[in-house]
Symmetry: C2
Subunit: 200 residues, 2 copies
């Protein structure tokens, strides 16, 4: 039984190691790549090597960075007195896309999840506490997910940060924009009710 | 508005160029890769460069190869008097997996499809005709898909090869193994009826 040439098999194997890429997808990708100009593969290869060599975590907020400090922490225009705490680097990108937050971030790199063996000691919580102590931070916005784990992490963080004199807030939970009441689940409805605000 | 570091954005852009990889998937892949050991990216990069440089088409059958002749054409044990004509290189791998065919292949690199601007002159048909003339080929098995386009291509091929004294056959069409009659479509049923064989 014959199959693809060795170098193509190797490429399929390497591509299959990527998350959510199975053997079929890897074969289709390799199939595409070997039939293109070699420049296509070369550019992808170069981007891979450069990115994996250059990208590290910012010393301050733990977002992705190419230097010791990320571009956000290095921006002197940002309000250093407000920290927004998120679970993952992509969350930073989501909030930046929204375009209204002018403070700095703190990426936890995970969420407290006993079931998945993720204890608070594995998160960047000590660094956050230290940051609020050594810098003048007026408000810490907890922007963890609105899940059980995100809620637990937020409570844990609120306790760890308590007594610092820092204001600790959490993103509002409620009906998403465009959401119909009919289709909202009970917990979302209950959160929306609890968080109701005065109409003026 | 800030986003990922430049080298990571570049990696996301390059990954998005791959078929069926959108920006979200590309971001997730880049996200994974920059958080792994650089060796993971380096190996993938190397596999990309090596495969795209080494893989070419076999001079004889147009299957993927690393040399002038593919491993199948180079195997002296294969029966050179039988050619199996397929649309795509992956079809070769499928038939090899089945493990019963001992002849050689001929990859058309497409199928006759006027709607997609794929005329027969873009397929490796002239090469096939030449091959049957210059080599002693007893049988050409047309293994194009059981689609309208595959059928049209097979008819075109049969005509092009006619008068060569070569036996031209086509893969049987009918109910797939495990298929229930109840769910078979009309055309499949009609083909199965036409191709019925005597039970002995």
């Amino acid at each position: 039984m014959y199959t693809f040439p060795l170098s193509m098999q190797k490429l399929i194997r390497e591509l299959s190691k990527l998350p959510s890429i199975g053997e079929k997808t890897a074969t289709r990708l390799a199939y595409y790549l070997v039939q293109q100009e070699p420049a296509i593969s070369r550019e992808l290869a170069e981007a891979l090597v450069v990115a994996s060599k250059s990208v590290r975590l910012c010393n301050e907020c733990f977002f992705f960075s190419e230097g010791e400090k990320c571009t956000i922490c290095a921006d002197v225009q940002r309000d250093r007195a407000i920290l927004c705490v998120v679970e993952k680097p992509v969350d930073v990108v989501a909030i930046e896309r929204m375009g209204e937050f002018r403070g700095l971030y703190h990426v936890l790199h995970g969420v407290w999840s006993p079931l998945r063996g993720m204890g608070p000691e594995k998160l960047k919580i000590d660094d956050l506490v230290l940051r609020t102590k050594t810098h003048e931070v007026k408000e810490v916005i907890l922007a963890t997910s609105a899940t059980v784990e995100g809620d637990a992490t937020a409570i844990y963080l609120a306790r760890s940060l308590g007594g610092n004199g820092t204001r600790v807030t959490r993103l509002a939970q409620g009906i998403p924009k465009g959401g119909e009441l009919e289709y909202a689940d009970d917990i979302t409805l209950s959160r929306a009710m609890m968080g109701r605000s005065v109409v003026e």
